[in-house]
Symmetry: C2
Subunit: 369 residues, 2 copies
């Protein structure tokens, strides 16, 4: 836990800043808020994220939750105005901000000194929502989510410990790595999927309605995150341009290869190339860890066909719980034209048959996978 | 309904063929099964999908459910061996099969006549599973799913009506379009997402474990369908090569543009280019129809924080149903390191506050979106 007597100043009260405020307040912490937008600042205070900061007051911890493009400047400013505080930022890119800070510290014209950076730690909570602004904030946003702590070469141990305690007090799970490793990691597991989802979704803009009517869960899954905020993603992608572009080179090569194959699908080796692409995807997807960071695990699925009316899902799951089987994952199958749904209940493989039998006896229409 | 006295022969008893058999049997139909693999044929019979076909018996409807690469040959064969039967296939590509059949009919050396094709209708049930083979079959596979019927220029009205009735008797929702339109549509809404998912997932093959530990729902959603069968997808992609490659040209152009921008992220116009890409994705994703083919609709989300133990989800949904609010969608948030889960319950926006209030009163930890 962060020691309760220490005061935290949050600079930037958008979705993440206000959520941190709410979470810290719930943990009994004293929180000050500041934002260039008086409205955002006021809303954050009104929802209980903290009290508006008064210039000159000294914070012991400063969390910079500004947009990525102004983060380095805000961190520098915080280090100077709060000369004993630990300062952390929460931007989605880390290397660029660290270089900007090092450049400011090396610049004789700028008041920031290299030793000020001992009190700085870059961090990145891997949490977010499609909505933005303090109105969408929630203190539980970080619960169970990874929070990356990127100590740099001259971060003090105390600063790193403070950042770690703050992340943990919000329920996050702390992962330590360098800024470079962080940026490469998020380019792959966050920025690449965002680019892919946006590219696929953008092809739908001019699609015919009759084609879109055939959409299934595959398309919905692939494009779900394409609903993200353009403004934020400009800053993220341009702030992490090098690692992202390195991955896009590989993607371009694969697409070139696939185009070449599909231009002459009957040419020798063509079919093997396509099979190879899909098989590589098979291999890659099995490497994504499962729930709660456990090793990837295959669950067995029991599908229950239900009417689309209130209480049906609850009734099924109520019966599942009387059998004493834990639900590992849940999915509703959506499709066009019918008023029934398929509820896919994932359970440990060893419990599948028992559950299916019990639900069938209870009168449910059950399909095994 | 298909008239019960008509006998249906299913050629090919893999996942789809055996599922059609199960569904037709459940609807009271007489079903014969044949498959080049005696094992597949036997399993399909054992699970109740029909009885093994005896050579020479005359079917009134033949469903060709063979792999796409042999479908045309199987259809031609069925048209000749069952000279009064309606013959339909269910392969995922339609134009190529129709051209192959037309070529056979035009070939003086081949016994197939142009007039035989009056009895043929190409169809495509948009249903499937990650698993394959008759063991994974289920009669309800097509419930609520789109089933495309592609009448060609010389399909008889009777043959089209028979195919339509068969699809409807399995609970599917029928969509009529030409083979060309079908192939363009599935290239966009099915084959493109598959390619994108496989390409993203294949990049994960050599990723470091520390990077994969940061995986969130975004990556999981984008790559879920990358677990598909390479063998089948070789046939689908090479069988629909032209429409797919046309879409990939556009994708390649967008990736080229993005690479150019990210190579010089500070160049004039670069940021606007990135914002444009994400905004186009925003626009595209809103065009995907919602549940049951209804217009896309935004639901409000009520998030409930629950312990990861049996019965918790059921208990929440049970309480939701006592409030009388219909659950439009459900999602579990998974993440690393914690034993709590977030159950996201989507409801009509007008019911959100009422539900949140009621659940809070019932003692649940509720977060509004």
């Amino acid at each position: 836990m962060v020691e309760p007597q220490r005061t935290v100043l949050i600079r930037g009260t958008g979705l993440l800043g206000a959520s941190i405020g709410l979470g810290l307040r719930a943990a009994g912490q004293k929180v000050w808020l500041s934002d260039p937008s008086p409205t955002a600042q006021r809303i954050a205070q009104d929802i209980g994220a903290g009290t508006i900061y008064e210039a000159g007051d000294q914070a012991e911890i400063v969390v910079v939750a500004s947009p990525p493009e102004v983060t380095a400047q805000e961190v520098a400013d915080a280090l100077q105005n709060h000369p004993t505080a630990t300062v952390l930022d929460i931007a989605s890119v880390k290397g660029k901000i660290l270089s900007q800070l090092n450049a400011l510290a090396a610049d004789a014209q700028h008041p920031l000194q290299q030793q000020d950076l001992h009190r700085y730690v870059g961090t990145h909570p891997m949490a977010g929502r499609e909505k933005s602004g303090p109105v969408a904030a929630r203190g539980e946003l970080f619960t169970s989510m990874p929070w990356v702590i990127c100590a740099h070469e001259t971060s003090s141990e105390e600063a790193v410990a403070t950042a770690t305690a703050l992340a943990r007090s919000l329920g996050a799970s702390v992962h330590r790595m360098t800024a470079t490793k962080h940026d490469e990691s998020v380019a792959l597991i966050s920025h690449l999927p965002q680019v892919a989802a946006s590219l696929v979704a953008s092809r739908l803009q001019d699609a015919e309605t009759s084609a879109l009517a055939l959409s299934g869960n595959g398309l919905r899954d692939v494009t779900r995150i394409a609903a993200s905020d353009p403004n934020l993603w400009v800053q993220i992608l341009s702030g992490n341009a090098r690692p992202v572009v390195e991955i896009l080179y590989g993607l371009r090569e694969d697409i070139e290869r696939l185009i070449g194959t599909l231009e002459e699908p009957e040419a020798p080796g063509g079919q093997a190339d396509i099979a190879q692409l899909i098989a590589e995807g098979n291999a890659g997807v099995t490497r994504i860890p499962g729930k709660h960071g456990a090793p990837p695990q295959s669950f067995a699925v029991v599908t229950v066909i239900i009417d689309d009316k209130p209480g049906q899902i609850a009734a099924v799951l109520n019966d599942v719980s009387t059998v004493g089987v834990n639900v590992e994952d849940l999915r509703m199958e959506h499709s066009a034209g019918h008023q029934v749904g398929m509820l896919e209940v994932s359970v440990l493989p060893g419990r599948r048959d028992e559950l299916a039998e019990a639900l069938t006896e209870m009168g449910w229409k059950v399909v095994l996978s």
